[in-house]
Symmetry: C2
Subunit: 340 residues, 2 copies
Amino acid sequence: MEQIALTLAAKQTVHPIYVGAQAHASLHEWADLSCKTLILTDDGVPRAHVEAIASQCSNPVIMTVLQGEGAKSFSVFSDVCEMLLSHKFGRKDLLISVGGGVIGDLGGFCAASYMRGIRFINIPTTSLSQIDSSIGGKTAINVHGVKNIVGAFYQPELVIVDPDFLHTLPRRHLNNGLVEAVKAGLIADSALFDLFEQENPYDHLTEIIKRSLHVKQHVVENDPEEKGLRKILNFGHTIGHGVESVYGLSGLLHGEAVAVGMMPMLGSDSLRERVARVFEKIEIDPYKPYDVPQVLEAATRDKKAQGDTVSIIVVNEPGEAIIESISFDRLAQIMREGHQ
Amino acid sequence: MEQIALTLAAKQTVHPIYVGAQAHASLHEWADLSCKTLILTDDGVPRAHVEAIASQCSNPVIMTVLQGEGAKSFSVFSDVCEMLLSHKFGRKDLLISVGGGVIGDLGGFCAASYMRGIRFINIPTTSLSQIDSSIGGKTAINVHGVKNIVGAFYQPELVIVDPDFLHTLPRRHLNNGLVEAVKAGLIADSALFDLFEQENPYDHLTEIIKRSLHVKQHVVENDPEEKGLRKILNFGHTIGHGVESVYGLSGLLHGEAVAVGMMPMLGSDSLRERVARVFEKIEIDPYKPYDVPQVLEAATRDKKAQGDTVSIIVVNEPGEAIIESISFDRLAQIMREGHQ
């Protein structure tokens, strides 16, 4: 028997994120836009944003899908790939996502897969995607209602975060994204949590976004493929994804569900009270009642579940997160009792 | 404007390839098979091979797709992902491809994408896949007849190459794979080419497979994502893929098409004569006539085409390959004249 060992040394890569007012107008300064460029967006994104990007590209094709989670499907994934093929995109051409997390996840997976990877730039237009989903390289589609079950780790060459885009976002959607910033503060940046407690968050949006991105940057750099540390980003998400699976179709948003999932994972009643007051400031109800058996079933079907145990993240003090592995039964108990 | 730089340091990884008679029977010695395991195969693979693998797994699920290139489709890709989901596969579970290049490519892309990557082992059963397609991490499906247009770079944790599997392979399919070994000799291993010239290749199959794998190992290690050097593996494939696109549906095999594509890319008539004699030994016709405009259109639609030029690989002496960038017109001329 002969063993041949294929040894692959991967290179360090750098993926800049530009954050600032009117950042989108400077895209052409940071990226080569002289190639074919597919701008992927949805019909909920203000057309002016899309046109402002397209006008900087030499050879843009705009593809607009229907707004909503439904776009993260095999069917739309194949439509986008077929669009790239029909315009004869090559390996050095570019896909730019302009939209929320759905468009970022879908566009990222298409860019990762078409020709096994073409250039990808992400321009998030919602607070949720600016704060959380646009960086880290997690791209995916959904299958049979299970979120993000098929996808790739694929880093955009560039992310542009323009807080001015948030001016056109409905208040409820703005608040939805801010939940992930509260999460970032709780797991890794007590000063960010202080800012939510002591100030009016709406006066500090750019600062909140930047601090949240720094948290995510730190965590992702230390665990790009979610082998360990990165799990802390799932704080609130085990129950949150379950709640979102069950109530998302009736209109509950991702951040609203995650807020519900965060509360039982806080280490004390006093911290729970402080976090509840922060959520009140940003008009989020973290005590929305839910059907425990239904949510448990959805949460444990979720991809974080491994065998008979599930990872949860616990925060005892703002800025510090602990990863624990617990049984499904214990998770059910935590959900029923409202604390761990 | 603030720039946050996400810096990702990727790790070196090692992917062993075991080559030897009855290697498949030792799979359990090299891999943890105590998890859920999807064995993906097709109805052309002898059932005994599949059973011999499944019997070593604690918890096997066998999925058999229809033999042929048609399995590399969005539809079958989503079927496999849905099968993994319906059996609640988790991130640490395993997919094993048992079959030719189609099954390796399809299974690899599914393993790469399901949960953004689960464990993957490749057990190639044809000469073509043992010699060429099973290592290197290129996985893909086809779209609208364009080969390998959607996929991922994803390395199997283990490849098992068992030359005994070739005993059940029809001679024409055995020869089909040997073309890629001739290619490996021509681009990077003159001793391998000598072996084809001076010996009876069928007496040296294990040696031929090992030498071919060493060539591929060397090239892939130095260019895992096909940025440069790895292009030499495409020797014969620019025209070859075009010929395969046009005549594959009427039964021409990959290696048979690549042999046709190699001849015009040899640097002299004398080398062309030597290579033609080698192909005669393995019952391959490298001078099959083809429709130049049709093949040109298919070849330049192919993914190696970038803008108005196309990369070709030229071999002047066995063991040495040169990468050149030429115009579509020049490629048409080479095809018409039969030499470059």
